[in-house]
């Protein structure tokens, strides 16, 4: 498979800032997990048979990637682009609802 099959980015500048802000609070191992996740998404943003259970799941109109036990990435797949909408602690899953 092409090692850079998808163009990777953020859905907007706010999403990028949220990611940068979050990364500034993380431990090295957690940052490395995000690096690994982004590299994976660039290669293949869809679930693969060899993935751990529920690593990548479709949630509504977007996808959720389980980066670590405490952090999640949400993203859209549009053509050959992966657009990250949020990098978040799992406790913040509830913040964007009415």
């Amino acid at each position: 498979m092409d090692s850079a099959a998808y163009e990777l980015g953020f859905v907007n500048r706010a999403a990028k800032k949220g990611y940068d802000d979050l990364l500034g609070t993380l431990k090295p191992a957690e940052k490395a997990a995000f690096d690994w996740a982004l590299a994976r998404l660039r290669k293949n943003p869809y679930p693969a048979p060899s993935d751990p259970a529920r690593l990548i799941v479709k949630v509504g109109n977007q996808w959720r990637y389980r980066v670590t036990s405490r952090y999640r990435l949400l993203y859209l797949i549009e053509n050959r682009r992966v657009a990250v909408t949020a990098a978040t602690h799992r406790k913040d899953a509830y913040r964007n609802l009415p």
Binding site: E7, V11, R13, R54, V59, R70, R90, A93
Partner: protein, 212 residues
């Protein structure tokens, strides 16, 4: 019936002081914690996932009914609501401090993540359940979609807290990783329901990440 948001452990005193509950509330809470310990003790002794599922199948509904009754009682008074608010500020890292070695990895991360997620969900839902009827109805709707997993996560976390707090005899070390993984899994399913309902960003301007 509100049955999904009972704090799994007693809140600790804060700078503002402990909530002052009525004698009836205090007694009902005491009964609730005793019942929780009795019903969930078998979970702390499971040695395989199938046993965990079997115990959960019998424990979730009765626990949810007790939890629903105590929740209604607490929501009805100012002191009860303060008690619930205090419970949301419990630091799970403090709870796990003395048993970090027992929890191990990934158990510790799974426990912390699931507990923090439950706190996040409760922080979202609790004000709504005390607020306008429309907001409460929305909270009930979302909880209905995620309800079974939410209940299972709470029950499993309660069982873990019984172990962490030395509140139950004869627990087995084999139960700990099973409970951690189960709590993580159930709360992940809950989060996914919430994620699926979150609106997508209105503003779109693709900001690429450069290679390397």
């Amino acid at each position: 019936m509100v049955s999904l948001l009972v704090p799994p452990v007693r809140p600790q005193p804060t700078h503002s002081g402990s909530p002052v509950l009525t004698p009836e509330e205090t007694e009902r809470l005491r009964e609730f914690y005793v019942q929780t310990g009795e019903v969930l003790a078998p979970l702390t002794r499971v040695r395989e996932y199938a046993a965990l599922e079997a115990v959960l199948a019998g424990a979730v509904l009765p626990w949810a009914q007790w939890a629903g009754r105590i929740m209604e009682l607490l929501l009805a008074t100012a002191a009860g609501r303060q008690y619930l608010q205090e419970a949301q500020r419990i630091d799970p890292e403090v709870l796990a401090m003395n048993k970090a070695e027992l929890l191990g990895e990934p158990g510790l991360s799974q426990f912390l993540g699931a507990f923090e997620s439950l706190q996040g969900m409760t922080a979202w839902a609790l004000p709504k359940l005390q607020g306008e009827s429309g907001e409460a109805q929305f909270a009930f709707l979302v909880q209905g979609l995620a309800g079974e997993d939410m209940l299972r996560a709470q029950v499993v976390l309660c069982a873990l807290l019984l172990i962490l707090g030395d509140a139950v005899p004869n627990w087995t070390a084999e139960a700990v990783p099973l409970l951690c993984a189960a709590a993580d899994e159930y709360m992940t399913r809950v989060e996914d329901v919430f994620f699926s309902m979150a609106p997508l960003p209105a503003e779109r301007e693709f900001v690429p990440i450069s290679d390397g």
